[in-house]
């Protein structure tokens, strides 16, 4: 659907390096209206981004899901009818009803309330994991892509060896060794995703480093650090942002997988995967609500991030859009 966006499909980020690409980026868009609306390149690009994003229906749905999920994660006390740890043993394993819309668990706790509070852990993981991975992966990718040569080889070989662990296995091992806590899980998952960010940043940095604006900056005497920060990094950001959104979705799945295997966030804090771990034990005896609703919460939130990621990709980085 994003037909021939070759020229402006490239780096579109509102930052300093703008002068150089501003010209090429605007080239394919309408010319007449630009004189009226364009204030600064940044504003113009932001506007075009918003317009394209709104036109992408699925992306908008994704954004709404993620926003709703954020509200739930921020205000669980206001949304949940009860606290997540209030037990009501006589009312244990009650099927969904008006009072307990998702039923109750083995201690009579309201599953709906626990699902609502579980959003908090899931959202923390979804936001913090990509940040941790980025903090390490992006600089590595920048250095490898910009300098190339031996440094590139060594850094990428180290990345390959992290990549050589299946993600869940690496997450399991790290948490098993360092202990179960939310911090450790976020750090472990962050490590798991470092190579993806390093690779993507390296790819972008490699091609950007060959562009003329980088050569110009260098010939004007800019330091490598300055070039990387101001003239290379900005052009990698759209790819990094797309990756971050997809990583958020994967992080939610991985965290719930770890919790399901018993190495997640320790109880009593409710995590969706942990609820499924216990709920699975009640599958045979017919208490389906115990394991269905927390799972639906995972699916919905992951779907939201995936839709958002797909949408961002087709808007920011059409070259890598699978649905071009």
């Amino acid at each position: 659907m994003t037909g021939s966006t070759g020229a402006d499909g490239g780096p579109e980020t509102g930052t300093d390096g703008g002068e150089v690409t501003g010209g090429t980026a605007a080239g394919t868009d309408g010319d007449g209206s630009r004189a009226v609306r364009s204030d600064r390149p940044v504003v113009r690009r932001a506007r075009r981004f918003a317009r394209r994003f709104r036109r992408n229906r699925l992306a908008t749905v994704g954004l709404l899901i993620v926003a709703g999920f954020l509200v739930v994660a921020l205000f669980p006390e206001q949304i949940a009818p009860r606290a997540y740890d209030v037990t009501d043993v006589p009312n244990r394993l009650a099927p969904p009803s008006a009072e307990n819309p998702m039923g109750t668990d083995r201690y009579g706790r309201d599953i709906f309330s626990r699902v609502v509070f579980g959003a908090r852990i899931a959202f923390q993981v979804a936001v913090l994991t990509p940040l941790v991975a980025m903090a390490v992966g992006v600089p590595i990718g920048l250095l490898a892509g910009y300098y190339g040569g031996l440094l590139d080889d060594v850094l990428m070989r180290v990345m390959d060896s992290i990549f050589a662990f299946p993600t869940i296995l690496l997450g399991l091992t790290l948490v098993a060794v360092f202990g179960q806590s939310l911090t450790n899980i976020v750090l472990a998952l962050g490590v798991v995703f470092i190579p993806q960010f390093a690779r993507i940043t390296r790819g972008s940095a490699l091609s950007v480093s060959k562009e003329s604006h980088v050569k110009v900056a260098r010939s004007l005497g800019a330091s490598d650090a300055r070039i990387l920060a101001l003239h290379v990094l900005p052009f990698c950001l759209s790819a990094i942002l797309v990756q971050a959104t997809i990583t958020a979705a994967l992080a939610i799945i991985l965290e719930s997988s770890l919790s399901f295997l018993g190495v997640g966030v320790p109880p009593p804090r409710p995590s969706w995967g942990g609820m499924l771990r216990v709920g699975k034990g009640f599958v045979g005896s017919g208490e389906w609500w115990y394991s269905v609703f927390p799972g639906l919460a995972i699916v919905l939130s992951v779907l939201g991030f995936n839709l958002l990621g797909d949408g961002l990709r087709s808007v920011l980085d059409p070259r890598t859009d699978p649905d071009r």
Binding site: D160, S161, P166, T167, L169, L174, G279, S291, V299, L303
Partner: protein, 318 residues
């Protein structure tokens, strides 16, 4: 520019060696970072310092880490993964008896995913914009958003409680009883394969769409070749990048089998791993992680070679 496949294979093998060395070293190092070290795990927190010292000496834990590492790797290369701290079993034996199970589960997921993804991706691309395409796209999106273990639980609910058609727990080796063995692998295979099926469907669709727009296909059609055979032409080329993804996914299926084995109570390496973590049996943990990653690296190696072989642009004259 042209490289022979043999040359490439050698280069790629040489690349795999340092990666594996680094991986094993990371795992080995990680296990040494456990608070208190393995001796405390074995004896418990209230062991006396003398007991701890004795055990450390016996296990060689007071030697420098690199000496311990070289010792261990020497053993591993000869198939000796040491003995479990917890039940004194040979780790190598425990792994060897469970490895085939895990590989069968992984293979089941692989077969399910490809037999769904190849038709779905092709149909989606050929019938672009129709309801078939919407089904393919929806599947591509939902498949990656549903955690496999939850899909497994839903299948358990459906087949275990509502219908009594397929076995929902346990394992029978397909080698000893092919029919029963396959029945046991159906639900785990679906559970494990769905996410990969979704990824491959999406990828195949987009590659095929791109390929279908190429000019050479018009030349093929002009020669009077049927539409079906034209499609085969396009698919051959579309498959080249897809192979890489399929190969990488095989590795992730191997990781995914850990959780599938727990959901369906299958006695494979994954269950062994989870039990080892629960009982803090780090020697077993270390051995299993090394076996998993070795397989993972080996699969990637095979994938790269296949890619090289399939891609005429990389292959030189034979």
């Amino acid at each position: 520019m042209t490289t022979s496949i043999r040359e490439y294979a050698v280069r790629r093998l040489l690349w795999a060696v340092p990666v594996l060395a680094l991986v094993t070293f990371i795992v080995f190092g990680l296990v040494r970072l456990v608070p208190g070290g393995p001796a405390v795990v074995m004896l418990g927190a209230d062991a006396s310092p003398e007991q701890l010292a004795a055990v450390r000496a016996e296990l060689g834990l007071n030697q420098p880490v690199y000496v311990q590492y070289l010792d261990y790797i020497g053993g591993v290369l000869g198939g000796d993964f040491g003995r479990s701290y917890v039940d004194n079993q040979r780790v190598g034996t425990a792994i060897a008896s469970r490895l085939p199970t895990t590989l069968f589960v992984t293979l089941a997921g692989f077969v399910v995913s490809l037999s769904v993804a190849i038709p779905a991706g092709t149909l989606s691309a050929v019938k672009r914009g129709t309801k078939w395409d919407s089904v393919g796209l929806t599947f591509g999106l939902l498949g990656v958003s549903i955690p496999n273990f939850w899909l497994g639980i839903v299948l358990l609910l459906t087949f275990g409680v509502t219908y009594d058609v397929l076995p929902v727990a346990g394992y029978v080796s397909p080698l000893s009883d092919p029919v029963e063995g396959l029945r046991y692998l159906i639900l785990p295979g679906i559970t494990l394969g769905t996410a990969m099926a979704a990824i491959v469907t999406r990828m195949l669709r987009s590659e095929l769409l791109e390929e279908l727009q190429q000019d050479y296909l018009d030349a093929v059609r002009m020669k009077g070749v049927s539409e079906t055979r034209t499609l085969v032409h396009a698919m051959k080329n579309a498959f080249i990048p897809v192979v890489t993804v399929i190969g990488m996914q095989f590795g992730y299926l191997l990781g995914g089998s850990i959780i599938i084995e727990v959901v369906f109570s299958i006695p494979g390496m994954g269950r062994l791993l989870v039990n080892a973590i629960a009982s803090r049996d780090y020697i077993t943990l270390q051995g299993i992680v090394i076996v998993y990653t070795t397989f993972f690296v080996a699969v990637n190696l095979v994938v790269d070679l296949t890619y090289f072989y399939l891609n005429p642009k990389l292959r030189g004259e034979s």
